[in-house]
C-alpha cells in the first residue's frame, strides 16, 4: 500500500515539477512577494505633508511650526494665507494636514492665557489621520510644557513596548506572511488537483486503479503540503536573514505547527476541489475563500475590531490560529500551553475538511 501511495505522490510531484512554468510560479513569487509586501505594510506615518496657515506674526507660532517641521512625522511643504487655499490643497491631496494658527496665538501664550490652534486633517485615510493627531498632540504638549515650565506638571506616561520594542512593522507583517503565502500555495495546488483530473477525464482512470479512496487522498494532499511548507520556509529564511527578525520560540515546534496548518489548508483545498466540476470552478472557490480567510485571521487588522458575528465566523479559519502561533513564536517565547490552545482547532478543521473530501472521492467511486 505504501508503495502505491508513494507512486501517486511521485506522479503528482513530477506533474508539478516537469513544467518549467509551473515550477516557476511555485518558487519565484514567494521570494518576490515577501520582500515587497514586508516593506509595504506599515500603518505608521512619516513625513506627512503639512501645510501651514499662520495668521499670527509672533515668534511663538513660528516656533510651533518649526517643531512640527522638525519632527519625523511631519514635513512642512506649503503655506497658505486663506482658508480656500488650504481647502484646495487638502482636496487635491497636495497636503494631508493643515496647521492653522489664529491671529492672537503668540500674545495668548505670552500672557499666559489659553492659546488655540487648529489642525485640519485629510481623514480619507482615517488611520493615518489618527496617527497624525497623536503625533501633533505630543508636539503641542511638549511645546506647552516648555512655554510654561513649572506649572502643574503633567503625568508622565512611560511606555514599554514588549516583544517589538522599536515598533517595527516588518516584525508584525512577516510572521503573517509566513502563514498567508503558504496558505495561498497549498490551497491552489490542492484545489486544482481533483478538479483537473475530473475535467480531463482522468479521474475515472484514477478510480479504476487499485488505489483506495484514502490513498488517493493522501497522494493528492502531500504535494500541497510540501509546496506550502517550502513556501513558508522561504519566508522564514527571508525574515530571519534579510529582515533580521528575532525568533524566540522553538523552531521545531513551529515547523510541526506549520505542518498541521498546511494540512488544514490542503484539506480546505481538496474539499473545494471535490465540489468543483471544472478547474475554473475550483479557481473561483480559491478566490472566494482565500481572501476572507486571510482577512478574518487578523492578518491586516486586529480581530478585536471585528463585529461579534464576523469574529465568530473567523473561528473556523485556520489562518487565525496559525497567526497567533507565528507571531508568538517569532517575537516572544510563547508558552507551549498557549500554542496548543491554537493547535487543536487547526487539527479539527483539517480532520473535518479531509473527511469531506474523502466522502466525495468515495461517492465518485461508487
Amino acid at each position: 500500500m505504501l508503495r502505491r501511495v508513494f507512486a501517486l505522490i511521485m506522479k503528482e510531484l513530477v506533474g508539478l515539477w516537469k513544467d518549467p512554468k509551473t515550477r516557476m510560479v511555485i518558487l519565484v513569487p514567494p521570494m518576490v512577494q515577501v520582500v515587497i509586501f514586508a516593506y509595504a505594510a506599515t500603518y505608521d506615518v512619516t513625513h506627512v505633508p503639512l501645510g501651514t496657515w499662520n495668521d499670527d506674526a509672533g515668534a511663538q507660532s513660528a516656533e510651533l511650526i518649526r517643531r512640527f517641521d522638525g519632527s519625523p512625522a511631519f514635513a512642512v511643504t506649503e503655506s497658505f494665507a486663506a482658508p480656500e487655499q488650504a481647502r484646495a490643497a487638502l482636496d487635491a491631496k497636495r497636503v494631508a494636514v493643515v496647521l492653522h494658527v489664529p491671529q492672537d496665538f503668540s500674545s495668548d501664550v505670552l500672557a499666559g492665557r489659553t492659546a488655540h490652534a487648529q489642525l485640519l486633517l485629510d481623514a480619507r485615510r482615517s488611520n493615518s489621520a489618527l496617527m497624525a493627531q497623536g503625533y501633533a498632540a505630543s508636539i503641542v504638549a511638549s511645546f506647552a510644557q516648555d512655554m510654561h515650565p513649572g506649572r502643574s506638571p503633567p503625568i508622565v506616561l512611560l511606555t514599554r513596548d514588549w516583544f517589538n520594542p522599536m515598533l517595527e512593522s516588518t516584525w508584525f507583517i512577516l510572521p503573517g506572511l509566513v502563514c498567508v503565502l503558504s496558505l495561498i500555495m497549498s490551497l491552489l495546488v490542492s484545489a486544482l488537483s481533483l478538479a483537473r483530473e475530473r475535467e480531463l477525464g482522468t479521474f475515472e482512470q484514477l478510480l479504476v486503479t487499485p488505489l483506495r479512496p484514502a490513498e488517493i487522498l493522501v497522494g493528492k494532499a502531500l504535494p500541497g503540503i510540501i509546496v506550502g511548507l517550502i513556501n513558508a520556509n522561504i519566508v522564514i529564511i527571508a525574515a530571519l536573514l534579510w529582515f533580521r527578525l528575532p525568533f524566540h520560540g522553538d523552531l521545531l515546534l513551529f515547523e510541526a505547527m506549520l505542518l498541521l496548518y498546511t494540512l488544514s489548508g490542503v484539506g480546505i483545498g481538496l474539499a473545494l476541489s471535490s465540489f468543483a466540476r471544472t478547474q475554473q470552478q475550483a479557481m473561483l472557490g480559491v478566490f472566494v475563500f482565500a481572501s476572507p480567510m486571510i482577512v478574518l485571521s487578523g492578518f491586516a487588522a486586529p480581530i478585536e475590531n471585528m463585529p461579534r458575528i464576523v469574529e465568530l465566523i473567523g473561528r473556523i479559519d485556520p489562518v487565525r490560529y496559525m497567526l497567533v502561533i507565528a507571531r508568538g513564536l517569532f517575537l516572544q517565547d510563547m508558552p507551549l500551553r498557549v500554542v496548543l490552545e491554537q493547535a487543536w482547532p487547526m487539527a479539527l478543521i483539517a480532520a473535518t475538511m479531509l473527511t469531506v473530501a474523502g466522502f466525495a472521492v468515495r461517492r465518485a467511486l461508487s
Binding site: Q118, P154, L157, L284, F287
Partner: protein
C-alpha cells in the same frame, strides 16, 4: 456583423456555465461583506490590565476615567506578575502600572514628575500606538478633572482642535470599503477572462476558433465586450453594497465612476486574457492571476497601507499596480466628490495600463499562432 455573432456565442457560453455569473456577482458579495466587516482599524475595547498601588480614591477615579474610554476595556490585576502573565498569554493587550509613589509625587511639585508605566504588547505596532494615545488621553482627562475639582486648573494651556475632513468620525470603513471594491474588481475582472481562455488553449478549441474566418481581434473583442457587461454589473452591485450595507457616502458623479470603471475593466479583463494566453495551462493561469491580483491589490494599492509611508523604491513599484489608480479615484469619489485634480491623472494611469495590457495580449496571441 461577425462580431455580433461571436458575441451571441459568448453570451450563450456565459449562460450555460454558471462560473462567470458566480464570479461577477457572488464574488463581490462575499468579498465585500467579509473584507468590509473584517478589516476595521477602528480600535474598540482593547483589554488593559491595571495594577494600582495608590489610595483608594485616586485608584477609583483613575479606573473610572480609563473605563470611560470607549476604546479600553479595563480589568484590575492584583500584581504586576499577574498582569505580565496575562500579557504573555495574550489575554490582555497592555498593562498600566501605578506605583505607590505616584500619589505623593502628584500632590506636590518634586524634582521627579509623577509617572505611570504602560506596558504594551507591540506585536502589532499600530494597535500599540493607538492604545498608548488612548491611555494617555484618558489620563489627561482624569488629571484635568481632578485639577478642576481642586480649582487648580492651570490657566495656560494650548488647546489643539482637530477637524477631520471628509470623514469626521474617522470610520475606517469609509476608506477601506472603496479600496475593497478596487480589489474585488481586480480579482473578478481578471478571473472572468483568465480561466476561460486558458481552458480553450488547453483543450485545443482555441486553435479551431482561430482557424475560422473570424479575425483574432474580433475574437478578443467579443470576449472582452461580453465580460465587460458582467464587470459593469458587478461594479454596480459593489457600489450598492458599499453605500447601503456599509453606509459609505458617495459624493462623486457617475460620469467619473463610469470612466474609471470602464478603463479599469479593460485593464483587468486584458490582464486575464494576457495571462491565459501566455500560460495556456489553467494551473499556471490560476496561479498567475491570483498572484497578480489579490495580494498586490490589497498590499500595494493604498487600500490599506498609505503609499506615501512606503520606502521610495516601493512607491515606484506601486505605479505598476493599476489598482492603485482605481483606489485613489474611488476613495475620492466616495468621500470627497469630483475632485478632477485627483481623478484625471489617475484616469490617465488607468488608460495607459489598459492600452499596454490589451496590446500585449494581441501581440502574444499573434505570436502563439506562428
Amino acid at each position: 456583423m461577425r462580431l455580433r455573432g461571436l458575441m451571441r456565442k459568448e453570451i450563450r457560453h456565459v449562460l450555460r456555465d454558471p462560473s462567470a455569473i458566480l464570479i461577477a456577482f457572488l464574488m463581490p458579495i462575499v468579498l465585500l461583506l467579509t473584507n468590509g466587516f473584517g478589516i476595521s482599524l477602528d480600535a474598540s475595547e482593547m483589554k488593559l490590565a491595571v495594577v494600582i498601588a495608590a489610595p483608594e480614591e485616586t485608584a477609583r477615579g483613575m479606573l473610572q476615567a480609563l473605563d470611560a474610554s470607549p476604546y479600553l476595556a479595563v480589568q484590575r490585576a492584583l500584581s504586576t506578575h499577574d498582569g505580565e502573565q496575562a500579557m504573555i498569554a495574550g489575554r490582555v493587550r497592555g498593562m498600566l502600572v501605578v506605583r505607590d509613589d505616584f500619589s505623593p509625587r502628584l500632590s506636590r511639585v518634586t524634582r521627579w514628575p509623577a509617572a505611570v508605566q504602560l506596558v504594551v504588547n507591540a506585536t502589532d505596532p499600530n494597535t500599540a500606538r493607538v492604545m498608548e494615545s488612548y491611555v494617555s488621553s484618558a489620563l489627561q482627562v482624569w488629571r484635568t478633572g481632578q485639577l478642576t475639582e481642586k480649582r487648580a486648573l492651570p490657566n495656560a494651556r494650548i488647546d489643539l482642535q482637530y477637524r477631520d475632513w471628509f470623514n469626521p468620525e474617522l470610520r475606517s470603513a469609509d476608506f477601506i470599503v472603496p479600496g475593497i471594491i478596487a480589489m474585488v474588481m481586480t480579482m473578478a475582472g481578471t478571473l472572468l477572462t483568465a480561466s476561460g481562455v486558458s481552458r480553450e488553449w488547453e483543450q485545443g478549441t482555441m486553435e479551431s476558433m482561430l482557424a475560422s474566418p473570424a479575425r483574432m481581434v474580433e475574437l478578443i473583442l467579443a470576449r472582452l465586450l461580453t465580460n465587460f457587461g458582467l464587470g459593469i454589473g458587478s461594479m454596480l452591485l459593489s457600489v450598492l453594497i458599499a453605500t447601503v450595507v456599509f453606509d459609505v457616502p458617495f459624493r462623486g458623479g457617475f460620469l467619473a465612476l463610469a470612466a474609471a470603471v470602464s478603463l479599469f475593466l479593460m485593464f483587468a479583463l486584458g490582464l486575464g486574457l494576457f495571462i491565459s494566453t501566455l500560460s495556456r495551462n489553467q494551473f499556471v493561469a490560476g496561479q498567475l492571476s491570483f498572484l497578480t491580483t489579490m495580494m498586490p491589490a490589497m498590499m500595494l494599492s493604498g487600500m490599506l497601507f498609505d503609499i506615501s509611508a512606503m520606502p521610495h523604491w516601493l512607491q515606484v513599484v506601486t505605479f505598476f499596480v493599476p489598482a492603485r489608480y482605481l483606489v485613489s479615484i474611488l476613495q475620492t469619489l466616495f468621500l470627497a466628490g469630483d475632485v478632477w485634480g485627483v481623478i484625471i491623472p489617475n484616469l490617465a494611469g488607468l488608460a495607459v495600463a489598459a492600452v499596454v495590457t490589451l496590446s500585449a495580449t494581441v501581440l502574444v496571441t499573434r505570436r502563439r499562432l506562428d
